[in-house]
Amino acid sequence: MNILLNNNPEEVSGDELTVAELLRIKNFTFKMLIIKINGNLVPKPDYETATIRPGDDVQVIHLISGG
């Protein structure tokens, strides 16, 4: 299926993925993340259950120290 990942078109396998599966596929192993699906915040306890469907706008923001 095709999704939008961090504003870039991305093709991933399957018709439905959980957030946790997407993180594994993309090798996003960073601990401190903010994830939004179609603008809605997905809290960490929901990563195993929140699903990503074709056409979804997914934002994975890496929280990096410094300022």
């Binding site: 903010i34 603008g39 915040l41 923001i61 890496h62 990096i64 410094g66 300022g67």
Partner: protein, 197 residues
């Protein structure tokens, strides 16, 4: 539109600055110089010598509360700016109240867990309020990596990769670039807004 009309929009704006370190102090000063009407500053820290490699403070202000020193420095640049300064550690409980009246909120913390807390709290408490975060600005060089990315009302300025470490400290040039990008994003949001404040 003449810039005079823009000026009145800036003068009527209220901007929240969460954290008064490298990002917050430089961003606040840039906004004060161009005549933003009200700045709501929040920080719980005092100035140390190690802050002076990037933060908008002076040697004789070491030991001061950052909120007091930033208020004083802004007053010396542009006394027309109204400053509301809170010497407080920001939490999910006090953030919604402190920044309720701000048109735009600037995330200017240094620690990743604090950035996460602020962004998540603000997205929940004020989904309609633009939030400008700074992510990734350690080290030097690599101008080309620094960018702005927008996701709905969340604007991210920085390179989104370089994390501070012993070998990769936060330094004035790169932190200043991102702080000024945040200020620049705030101005763009204010002047593009259709509410015509």
């Amino acid at each position: 539109m003449s810039f005079g009309l823009h000026t009145s929009r800036l003068r009527n704006a209220c901007i929240g600055i969460a954290g008064c370190g490298g990002l917050g102090s430089n961003c606040a000063v840039a906004l004060a110089r161009i005549g933003i009407g009200t700045l709501v500053l929040a920080d719980f820290d005092r100035i140390t010598e190690s802050n002076l490699n990037r933060q908008y403070y002076f040697l004789d202000q070491i030991g001061w509360k950052k909120t007091d020193a930033l208020r004083e420095n802004i007053r010396r640049i542009n006394p027309a700016v109204t400053i509301e300064a809170h010497f407080v550690r920001l939490t999910p409980e006090n953030i919604p109240g402190l920044f309720a009246n701000c048109d735009v909120l600037v995330e200017a913390f240094d620690q990743a867990d604090q950035k996460k807390m602020l962004i998540e709290t603000a997205l929940k408490a004020f989904p309609e309020k633009p939030l400008v975060a700074g992510l990734g600005m350690a080290g030097w060089g690599k101008n080309d990596l620094i960018h702005t990315r927008r996701s709905d009302n969340l604007y991210i300025c920085g390179d989104e990769v370089t994390e501070i470490s012993e070998d990769m400290p936060p330094l004035a040039p790169r932190v200043g670039i991102v702080a000024n990008m945040q200020a620049n994003a705030v101005v763009e949001i204010l002047l593009n807004s259709e509410t015509g404040r």
